[in-house]
Amino acid sequence: MMVLKTLGVLGPLHGYGIARRIEQISGDQLALNQGTLYPLLLRLEQEGAIESEWGPSENNRRARFYRLTRAGRKQLQAELRDWQQTADIIARFLAINAETRS
């Protein structure tokens, strides 16, 4: 979802860019092995949520750029909705706890 959102916000991006972006947004709290990003990208691509092509990067090297497809956009929206719902529900539970304790 984070990958999809990143691509949704920033448009076409290469792998390093995505990794950096996720790091930045999360405030360096997510310190995963960056390499694990690539199998995930491949999987998303095979699912048809993103597509990719070679292109020149900012420093004129060859890099693979990933872009959200229409199906991916839809998927992102659906996942955001789901996430929102889940978060709402959990928030409500937490709120009840707070009430009873007080």
Binding site: H14, Y16, Q34, Y38, P39, R43, R62
Partner: protein, 920 residues
């Protein structure tokens, strides 16, 4: 949906083998170098920057594998790998592979063939809708039964006879009275008919059917229309329905066949339609009538009886029609039987002349779904034997595969343990073994299917006579094939996998150690040895059985039939009754006999009403003059009407009195020749020459019988079968019998082959009547061979299975001994190092194998003694527990055991002590 898309993409990647490793590496490189740049920017030394970047990226190999796994289907890929590996292994040990595959193939092929034949002969129902509803009418009576004249097959049952034949008046009456079954219909397979299609004379099989036959059987025509009640009226134009097979064979499947006219027994008949595919009439599943004609055509196309007609009230004596009907809902067979029995009694009383002691036949309602089901009486027993034999072969083949795979997986236990120790998953190791077993099973299975196809083609050919026109088709039965194939394949998989499973469960380290030096392995080899002992037991049983049947064949071949069987060419002539009503038929045969005698290359010619060793016979009453008729005593004798020169041509000696001669004409006093055994039985202690006897009397039909003078005594002969000891019989000149209405068999003594003499015989007969075909041209020896066909087939099949059993057993012994020797190499090395001589090692191995063989043979002989009495009825001239046969099979197996263990024993003896000890 997403999952589907992903799987599809993966499959595509797998199929295209597109390698994206390059892409990943490039992306990784790019990623790391950018991270490095960034690190350098933030002040790190270049080397350290690179190190940190790589650290941040993570474990490259793991990610790379993950990437690859994501990319395609690792499960499928590893299966492909397994298959490749297994193929390589199977190719490497091609001896093992071919042995196992051949075992499987034989088991599947032989079993499918025999099961298919069995199913066809004993289980398949008539090809009509709801065959299970069909009921066949049958009757049984004691020996004083009112029915005396029958055209059809009778069974001898306890206390009398049983048959499925009824007279036409009985059919009409039963049909009128019947309200317990659906409408009754009648049919009669009349056997061969002489037909002329487009000027070609051919011999076809015909079936007469009642007008409601097809309606009741619920069959739809392939073309044209079926026979309707309207066709079955006296005076209706004669029509015929032809079989699909004849339509294809003689008319090239032309739709214009409807309306064509052919000649059947010289009567013009119009074809009205073609029967559907698979329809075999109502008589049996195996018969294949070419022509279906209405009953009303019988007086024209198949005249029999007093004035040619078996229909109407004119001939109630002759019982010939088969009757069937469908079961009616809610009426039990037993109540249907009671009701129909009442009307049968009524019709017998009203149509037959009854004496004081004649009895009324009782009616039975039987299952008619398989027609008359003669095949049960004919083939049930031999097929059971063959089934048992192929069952044993199946068992043998399965155990062979088991022992081969078992020995193999034992030998590979170390490999398995090693793989486990190196970290292979158990499932993965098992899957590898399973793949190998599966491949082997598939290979064997494919061969087996091919063999089954060939077998189903070949067996009907074995069952048919070369001169018999009726076709017996034997389609491969897929359900049977599926069954045998799955049984065999499953056993292969099971025996391949179980040892592997055990191996994967065992403690890897212990296994690696234990199989290392391997000093004593007696216990571990036990199951392999037990399998081989079991195989030797089965083989002993199979070999003994095969020897019994082969012995029967040899005994039969040495039977002296009482006449010379060499250089005799036989053929039959069935004169049409319309053209040759009695006594014109006698004149015709006289003419033919004389014309043939003049042919070059023909030494002598004769004819007889009944041909020899052909399962036909004639029996009549026989009363020495002065003896009163006594219904409680057997006062009958077998008889035959023959031409002059019969005894000379057949080489049957005249031991007293004279032969028939030219003076024994129709008007001369009636004379007869008795066989020695009949003479002894009828005139004990007297000279029979000049005595007279009474024969052929049927008071109920107003026949007083003939008084015949004995003029000679002939040697005894076998009559209808080689298996039947000579019977008491008498001969008459055919000129002195009323007619030859079943035709005659000609016996021609010639030094020429049947093929070279046949054209001149045919020309001679056709110079007398161009429409008379020569039927069933064969030699007497060929006739005898054909009569032993069942014995020959059983002997051939059991013998080949016996040889197969020997081969399988020897492979089994060899495999187990070779394996055992290989395992004990170091033990043998120690023995030799301690002073054992090669000779002693050699005998030690042989002794071990011999023990195994002896135990197996002993069990096998025991099994043989227990089971051979089951086949007594199929043997001739041999006791089922003939000691010679038991000894021979035991010896053969012992020899096989010895020979098969010879090579492993030699290998053991040739072991170099030092090498053996250093080996591990």
């Amino acid at each position: 949906m997403r999952l589907l898309k992903r799987s599809f993409a993966r499959l595509r990647n797998l199929a295209s083998r597109q390698s994206d490793d390059q892409r990943f590496l490039e992306e990784m490189e790019e990623h790391v170098s950018r991270q490095t740049e960034e690190n350098v920017c933030s002040g790190m030394a270049p080397a350290e920057a690179r190190r940190q970047a790589v650290l941040k990226f993570g474990a490259v190999e793991a990610i790379r594998e993950q990437y690859h796994a994501e990319k395609s289907l690792p499960f499928v890929e590893s299966i492909v790998q397994d298959v490749r590996y297994s193929l390589r292994i199977l190719r490497k040990s091609w001896g093992f592979t071919s042995m196992a595959a051949i075992s499987l193939a034989l088991a599947i092929g032989a079993n499918t063939t025999i099961f298919s034949v069995m199913k066809r002969l004993l289980l398949d129902r008539l090809e009509v809708p709801h065959a299970e509803q069909l009921r066949l009418l049958h009757w049984h009576g004691d020996k004083h039964t009112a029915v005396s004249n029958m055209w059809g097959i009778t069974d001898n049952v306890a206390e009398g006879i049983a048959a499925a034949s009824f007279s036409y008046p009985a059919f009409e009456q039963l049909r009128r009275d019947n309200h317990v079954l659906e409408d009754l219909f009648a049919f009669k397979n009349v056997g061969t008919m002489n037909a002329t299609i487009d000027g070609n004379a051919q011999i076809l099989q015909g079936e007469l059917v009642s007008g409601n036959f097809f309606d009741q059987l619920q069959v739809q025509p392939q073309l044209g229309r079926l026979i309707l009640p309207d066709d079955d009226r006296i005076g209706a134009p004669t029509v015929a329905l032809i079989s699909l097979e004849l339509w294809q064979r003689a008319f090239g499947s032309s739709p214009a066949v409807v309306g064509r006219t052919i000649k059947v027994n010289m009567v013009p008949v119009t074809i009205i339609g073609v029967a559907p595919s698979g329809f075999t009439g109502a008589e049996s599943v195996q018969s294949s009538p070419d022509l279906f004609l209405p009953l009303s055509s019988q007086p024209l196309v198949e005249p029999r009886g007093k004035n040619g007609s078996l229909l109407g009230a004119s001939s109630p004596q002759i019982w010939w029609l088969n009757i069937m009907g469908r079961a009616r809902d809610g009426v039990a067979d037993i109540s249907a039987q009671a009701a129909l029995d009442t009307s049968l009694s009524a019709v017998v009383r009203s149509t037959l002349r009854l004496d004081a002691n004649t009895t009324i036949p009782r009616l039975d309602v039987l299952d008619g779904s398989r027609g008359l089901f003669r095949s049960k009486q004919m083939f049930a027993k031999p097929l059971e034997v063959l089934m048992a034999v192929v069952g044993l072969v199946l068992l043998l083949a399965c155990s062979n595969i088991a022992s081969l795979l078992f020995a193999r997986s034992m030998a590979r236990q170390r490999e398995v343990a090693l793989r486990l120790a190196l970290g292979a998953g158990r499932a993965r190791v098992l899957r590898g073994v399973l793949t190998e077993s599966f491949l082997l099973a598939t290979l064997g299975g494919a061969l087996g299917v091919a063999l089954a196809f060939a077998g189903c083609r070949a067996l009907p050919a074995l069952l048919a006579n070369p001169w018999d026109t009726s076709q017996f088709t034997m389609p491969l039965d897929w359900s049977v094939l599926a069954f045998t194939a799955s049984v065999t394949l499953l056993s292969g998989l099971l025996f391949g996998t179980v040892p592997a499973w055990i191996a994967t469960r065992s403690d890897g380290g212990a296994c690696l150690k234990a199989t290392g030096p391997g000093s004593t392995r007696r216990r571990k080899g036990l199951s392999g040895r037990m399998i081989v002992t079991f195989q030797i037991m089965l083989s002993t049983l199979l070999v003994a059985g095969a020897l019994l049947f082969v012995g029967t064949l040899i005994q039969l071949a040495h039977v002296n039939p009482g006449f010379r069987t060499d250089h005799l060419v036989l053929f039959a002539i069935q004169q049409p009754e319309l053209r040759y009503p009695a006594p014109k038929d006698l004149q015709l045969h006289r003419q033919i006999e004389e014309r043939l005698r003049a042919l070059p290359g023909v030494q002598s010619v004769t004819l007889s009403e009944v041909g020899y060793i052909s399962d036909s016979m004639e029996n009549t009453n026989f009363l020495p003059e002065g003896e009163p008729p006594n219904p409680d005593k057997d006062q009958s004798a077998w008889n035959n009407a023959v031409g002059s020169g019969f005894f000379h041509t057949m080489g049957i000696p005249i031991v007293a009195g004279r032969d028939f001669n030219e003076n024994d004409t129709a008007s001369a006093p009636k004379v007869g020749i008795l066989s020695e055994s009949l003479a002894r039985k009828a005139f004990p202690g007297q000279n029979p020459i000049g005595k007279r006897f009474l024969a052929h009397f049927h008071p109920s039909e107003g026949k007083p019988g003939d008084l015949i003078e004995v003029v000679g005594i002939s040697g005894d002969t076998r009559y209808w079968s080689l298996k039947q000891d000579p019977v008491g019989m008498f001969y008459q000149p055919y000129q002195q019998t009323p007619n030859l209405d079943f035709g005659a068999t000609y016996e021609v003594r010639t030094s020429l082959s049947p093929a070279s003499v046949a054209p001149s015989l045919r020309k001679a007969v056709q110079s007398i009547d161009p429409d008379l075909p020569l039927q069933e041209i064969r030699t007497q020896q060929g006739q005898i061979d054909a009569s032993m066909q069942q014995e020959r087939i059983i002997a051939a099949l059991t013998a080949s299975f016996g040889v197969l059993a020997l081969v399988l057993a020897s492979v089994g012994v060899y495999g187990v001994m070779a394996y055992s020797v290989a395992q004990r190499t170091s033990e043998i090395g120690i023995r030799m190092a301690l002073g054992a001589r090669p000779r002693e090692v050699f005998t030690m191995v042989l002794r071990e194998a011999t023990w195994m063989a002896l135990v197996g043979i002993a069990c096998g002989i025991g099994a043989t003694l227990l089971s051979t009495h089951l086949v007594t009825s199929l043997l001739y001239g041999l006791h089922p527990n003939d000691p010679r046969i038991l000894a021979t099979s035991a010896l053969l197996l012992a020899l096989i055991g010895l020979v098969a263990s010879w090579v492993p024993a030699r290998c053991a003896a040739a072991v170099e002590p030092m090498q053996a000890l250093r080996h591990e």
